[in-house]
Subunit: 479 residues, 2 copies
């Protein structure tokens, strides 16, 4: 066996997720080789296994954006200070956490530039320039890029000073079109989570307190992690004409009148990789949903000595499955046992073992990463079975995550406080006042996750102040 010191680390056990969920998480991101820390404080390096997840997410989301009529553009990395300051709420929200460029080479800049924390202001400036008439609308642009927010505490994928994301920015003739777009993209996100990541989400609206700096309404998809905490996995904002007024974004409407544009933005970041890890993975490492997995099946030759016949069969199976799934043959010098552990750690959905006895029996031993289930499958059936199996795994992962998504109703403040220590969302009625939201946060240690689209009337009074209730809200601890 030929394992370097670095390799050996990988097969060491990781912290159990029941013992220390935070440590389990950082163990996985390191031992599944997703990231490496760098000397740039608060930023991580996405290694091949980590970046490949983002590449797959990007390819699938980009396809869905284009199918819904969006086009990609690329904006400058920098925003002049004066431009950032044009919309008041926006600058208040973001200025405290931006990185400032003050010098180009050895020269001090006349005006400071911030490294974009988000690009609303740049898009506003563009739209003000290029949209004159209703005929130019809607403009449905998206950008793939990195953004910078000077966070104090950071964790790989979940919170990082620099992160990769997409930001869609659209402008429309009227409120109705813009609101339709906002919800359409929220649905694109939730469908993507369900169909590609096997993650169920709750769709709803953020409270005033939790909405985006500068938005009229912020919509969110909220997922539940294995430890029972929520994670905001994507947001979609309706801006009304607030930015349009600040940036003088006018157009000639169908009646030849000058109007302000109505605007949206929506974004998903590498944070969603954190959600994938915390929803699906286990004490043996990463568990990847099949559609996301860079390698869907790993083929491992199992033979005491390097057996030519085994390797020939493995190569044959790999070739047979090549156009059916993303297959990798691991013919490295490591032992079969080491390979099992490694590909388990890396979350490969299906392992296909082939040894001399399997060849005699005309079948391979197939192990499912998610469930640990083993099946013997005839070689000639592999090509038809594997795609079905990948779909089954996806569905089983979604179902398991969905089952864990507990939602407990609280009718009284005591119930709310009690439930705050349990896993999952708490649904409770709310009067709509910030004071109650603040008190629930202060006393219960939970925040409002969203006002879900699917409303129920648990009672007719606010769980906090007992005044008439306006909404049912999902509350919870969150990342």
């Amino acid at each position: 066996m030929c394992v370097s010191n670095k390799d050996k680390k990988m097969v060491e056990a990781i912290t159990s997720r029941e013992d220390d969920f935070a440590k389990w998480y950082t163990d996985i991101v390191k031992k599944a080789d997703l990231i490496e820390y760098s000397s740039v404080q608060g930023c991580v390096i996405l290694k091949p296994a980590g970046y490949a997840l983002w590449e797959n997410i990007q390819a699938e989301m980009d396809k869905r954006f284009k199918e819904t009529g969006h086009e990609n553009i690329y904006m400058p990395l920098f925003i002049p200070e004066s431009l950032l300051q044009k919309e008041k709420d926006h600058v208040e929200g973001f200025a405290p956490e931006v990185a400032w460029v003050t010098h180009g080479g050895s020269n001090k800049l006349e005006e400071r530039l911030c490294v974009r924390p988000t690009s609303e202001t740049l898009f506003c400036e563009l739209y003000a320039k290029i949209v004159n008439s209703y005929r130019d609308l809607p403009k449905l642009y998206n950008q793939w890029c990195s953004v910078v927010r000077w966070e104090k505490t950071t964790r790989p994928f979940l919170r990082s000073r620099e992160f990769l994301w997409q930001e869609g920015h659209t402008v429309h003739e009227n409120e109705e079109d813009a609101r339709t777009e906002t919800i359409k993209m929220l649905n694109v996100y939730s469908d993507f989570c369900k169909e590609f990541l096997a993650i169920p989400v709750i769709k709803g609206k953020k409270t005033e307190k939790e909405k985006f700096a500068g938005a009229v309404d912020t919509y969110t998809i909220e997922a539940l992690m294995y430890d029972g905490k929520a994670l905001q996995a994507g947001t979609s904002h309706y801006f009304g004409d607030g930015f349009a007024r600040a940036f003088d974004m006018k157009f000639t409407d169908r009646n030849n009148n000058l109007q302000y544009m109505h605007q949206t933005s929506w974004g998903v970041s590498t944070r969603i990789i954190g959600a994938v890890i915390m929803v699906h993975s286990d004490d043996n490492g990463l568990v990847l949903p099949p559609k996301l997995a860079p390698t869907q099946c790993v083929i491992i030759p199992v033979a005491a000595n390097k057996s030519d016949a085994v390797l020939v069969k493995c190569t044959e199976v790999a070739a047979m499955l090549k156009n059916i799934a993303r297959v990798k043959l691991d013919d490295s010098n490591n032992s079969a046992g080491w390979k099992f552990a490694e590909h388990e750690m890396r979350g490969v959905p299906i392992r296909i073992e082939i040894g001399p006895k399997d060849i005699e029996a005309g079948e391979a031993l197939v192990t499912i990463r998610f469930s640990g289930e083993k099946r013997k499958i005839k070689f000639e059936d592999l090509a038809t079975t594997i795609p079905t199996l990948l779909d089954e795994i996806h569905d089983a992962m979604y179902d398991a995550a969905n089952k864990r998504m507990t939602v407990t109703a609280a009718k009284t403040f005591d119930e709310l406080k009690e439930n705050a220590n349990n896993k999952g969302f708490i649904k409770a009625m709310w009067c709509g006042n910030l004071e109650c939201e603040d008190e629930i946060k202060a006393v219960g240690g939970i925040t409002s996750r969203c006002i879900p689209f699917e409303q129920e009337e648990i009672s007719n009074t606010c769980v906090c102040c007992s005044k008439p209730a306006k909404h049912m809200v999902y509350w919870g601890k969150a990342y």
Copy 2:
């Protein structure tokens, strides 16, 4: 006809490339809607038509990188000042032109961070950390990102304070492996230029004066623009173990000895889009090589009034060609003439016109953007003809560019000076001394483009000092 003011601008004539090449170029990038200027000085916005070119370039190059065993990663945007300073030549080359981040939010940073101008230093730090043994080698990583260089004068695509690029960074056991990689990637670049962009290039080595800051050897592909000036379209560097010594990048070799790694890097940027424009386009606008073109065929209904039969036929043809080429049906309200001009300006390789008479005759009128040639093609033959035609156009564009790539030999300094005013490369012998290179630049206004791999012996003395010649060099004016 329903054309907004903004639209009208597009069909206005552009400056002739013979009259004012620089103005012709900026007219095209604006009127083909590739870019928009922003309030961020020295940075441009890549609009959908411009960004789509980079997306296609990226997809094709990424495929070629992966086929040659490379993996993508993502590095932080920032480099701490102390890290940038570790390799002396490198910091000298780049420090004068980097943007410095000095503040995070309202706090002054303890150490300044530069926005990456290139990421050698970060890759060095990573490789020092993750490579222990020869078994970990080679590491073949690539990154797609934007970089920042604080240029004083900028031009869209050609020179911009921020630009998109890819940077490959690899480490190897020994010099031979690293040198092989350096040349392999140069060949990937030149094949890509020929096969995807229809651009012929000269491959060669840069002189000491022109090489990358920190490299032992820099290799380049040089293309020739329509105005006869050269453009460096991609570079590949062999670093030896220079960075490895500065960053303590050691590994245990096959004999259990500690060795320094041997290293390469290679990059191509959005600059190459400037090359595509300046090699292929004409006075009617952009001319896109078919493989790069986001839309390969535009179908335009031609009818005095909106004819249902014509539109039905156009839709039918669009559906028929959908899986054969990237087809767009322009059924907008603009006049046919306006559409012709617009899609010409945007460089769509093939235009298919269909009117009532064409339907009667059972054929479409096909116009080739590059040559202006028109062909009548039976509807039933379109599906087989279009792919062939796209290939023919590619070849014809390559041949035309190749014919324009004039190389004139100069045996004397007078000949060199005289030829410096003409279009194209000048080949001349050189002694290898910097003094002569400097004099040729000062007197002739031309720089050494490369020492081409294909050497000839034009004479045996240096064109400048008449001492014994070492190399034949390609000289020229350059972007």
